[in-house]
Amino acid sequence: MNWKFFCDRAGRGLTLFCAALVIVLTVSIIYFISSKGLATFFTNGISLREFLLSDQWAPDRAAVDGGPLVGAKAFIAGSVLVSLLAVGVSAPLGIIVAVFIVEIAPGWGQRVLQPAVELLAGIPSVVYGYIGLSLLVPLIRTYLGGGGFSLLAGFLVLSVMILPTIISVSTDSIRALPVEWKHASYALGSTRWQTIRMVLVPAARSGLITAVVLGMARAFGEALAVQMVIGNTREIPTSILSPMMTLTSAITMDMGATVMGTTWNNALWSMGLLLLLMSLCFILIIRVVVRRGAVQ
């Protein structure tokens, strides 16, 4: 009896410890990024307005010449543009594939298509980037003109990368719908197309939105693959063929070669903080969407 009691207590202690560890990790990472990222504004005296709304990036310029300038607008715009376009391609494609897997071809869809999608998710991002660099960039350069390194190459690579996320989350949410709804719809005389369009997809709406937001979050945070194909030019892209830069690639470009504590390094941390806040936003959106979906 006593032994059982002890085991119970020990088990509870262990789980509590693990949970606390995760909380501490999260809190300390957020604390670290915030303290570094906010130093740009409080210690180095850069205004938030300049950071967010200026596209002048010259952190190495001496104070005499009016520097350092750490405007991140071009990177923020780049990140937003490339992720939105990637989701624009992937969301319809992913949802349609999910419908196909669940409704149209449940047999081989599940046996062949689903493992294929999971395989797609398992390809490391550097490989995606490398394929983009060696295949997509020369292709764009030859057939569409420009330098090849472009917004177009960036969002195409990204859209393939976020496809697995969107497909698998959408598949799960469509599959989780009660089978009676489908039967009821057929019983009322709907065709398969009507059932999918008017019953299943609207009913799975909150799950589908979650899938798209998750894909968006992944696109926003992706660094390596995008960096290899967008050309990293510190300008807001003027066309789909012009090179650009994202927040993540601006961080990776300079992080090793700047010294901790300088304005330059702190500005990179501020971009990190911005990425963290964005993903917080995405999580909040998902929470709200899921709660609304549950009420209906």
Partner: protein
């Protein structure tokens, strides 16, 4: 219920303390190996050299040769970039900080005062273009005009009618800093493609029509075409003689005068064994052969 919350808070508190405790220890770690070396002396103990990825292959190779000769020594070589190397060595977290640039260019005056510079080799840099570009010589003014965006087509320089595509390294890169100072006389480059590794820069210049960039001489492999500057070819001999201006020292910084293993290893880096064989093999120029010297401000003097 309440007791659970208390327990959770208690655990979180305990963990926080444990984590901050660890943080405290790492700060002191830098001092410990140094203390150990001084006691043992000679080629024993363990040191870390962190920083510049351009210098990393040389230091790695030299370290493995050194360790083969001195089995008691342990030298850990890490990349991470010049900035990382300099900040780690000035904080005492690494014994040696490798850098492509003078510490004065990255750190404040107080931190620089504590560091001792050891120049181990010289790296030359050349402006390189896509092999299809027929131009093979530019004047310095033309080079500046290209990189500041005043000249935008190769036909203005007598080449084919192809748009010039700039390929830069990031502003924090030592190669870019050197090129900007000595090839462009400090002129601010126009915006262009940026890549954070020399290997990628070479690949892009090789594949993109009209591309121009700059690379360390060790990266020249025939896939891109180096340009003469004011008629002077970017070769090892011209750099040694002081005829070709675009080169930089590779530095290994220590905090205070090096002692023990760090001193032995730095002496080894400057010995004939490394300078005469390893350094030229890996495409660097031995610092011992240089006939000219350059200080932090860029003043060149005959040795």
């Amino acid at each position: 219920m309440r007791s659970k919350i208390f327990l959770a808070l208690f655990l979180i508190g305990a963990l926080m303390m444990a984590v901050s405790g660890c943080g405290g220890k790492t700060e002191k770690q830098g001092e410990q190996p140094r203390a150990r070396e001084q006691q043992s002396g000679g080629a024993n103990g363990s040191i870390t050299a962190v920083g510049s990825s351009a210098l990393q292959p040389l230091v790695e190779e030299a370290a493995s040769q050194f360790m083969a000769k001195n089995p008691g020594a342990q030298i850990v070589v890490q990349g991470g970039g010049s900035g990382t190397g300099l900040s780690q060595v000035s904080q005492g977290a690494a014994d040696i900080g490798n850098s492509d640039v003078f510490a004065e260019e990255k750190l404040g005056a107080e931190e620089v005062a504590q560091l001792v510079d050891h120049k181990v080799c010289v790296v030359g840099m050349a402006a390189v273009v896509n092999p299809d570009i027929t131009v093979d010589n530019v004047t310095q003014q033309q080079l500046i005009d290209i990189f500041t965006g005043k000249i935008t087509n190769w036909k203005d320089l007598g080449g084919p009618d192809v748009k010039i595509q700039l390929v830069n390294r990031p502003k924090s890169s030592g190669t870019r800093a050197t090129f900007k100072t000595y090839a462009l006389k400090g002129a601010e480059e126009a915006r262009g493609i940026e890549q954070d590794s020399s290997g990628t820069v070479r690949k892009i210049i090789n594949e993109t029509p009209g591309a121009i960039g700059y690379l360390a001489l060790s990266y020249l492999d025939g896939s891109v075409k180096p340009l003469k500057l004011d008629g002077v070819e970017p070769t090892k001999e011209n750099i040694i003689e002081g005829k070709y201006p675009v080169w930089a020292y590779e530095h290994m910084y220590t905090k205070g005068e090096p002692a023990g293993l760090a001193k032995d290893f730095l002496d080894y880096m400057l010995s004939d064994e490394v300078q005469k064989t390893l350094v030229p093999e890996l495409g660097y120029i031995p610092v011992t052969e240089m006939k000219v010297e350059r200080d932090v401000r860029g003043n060149v003097t005959k040795k």
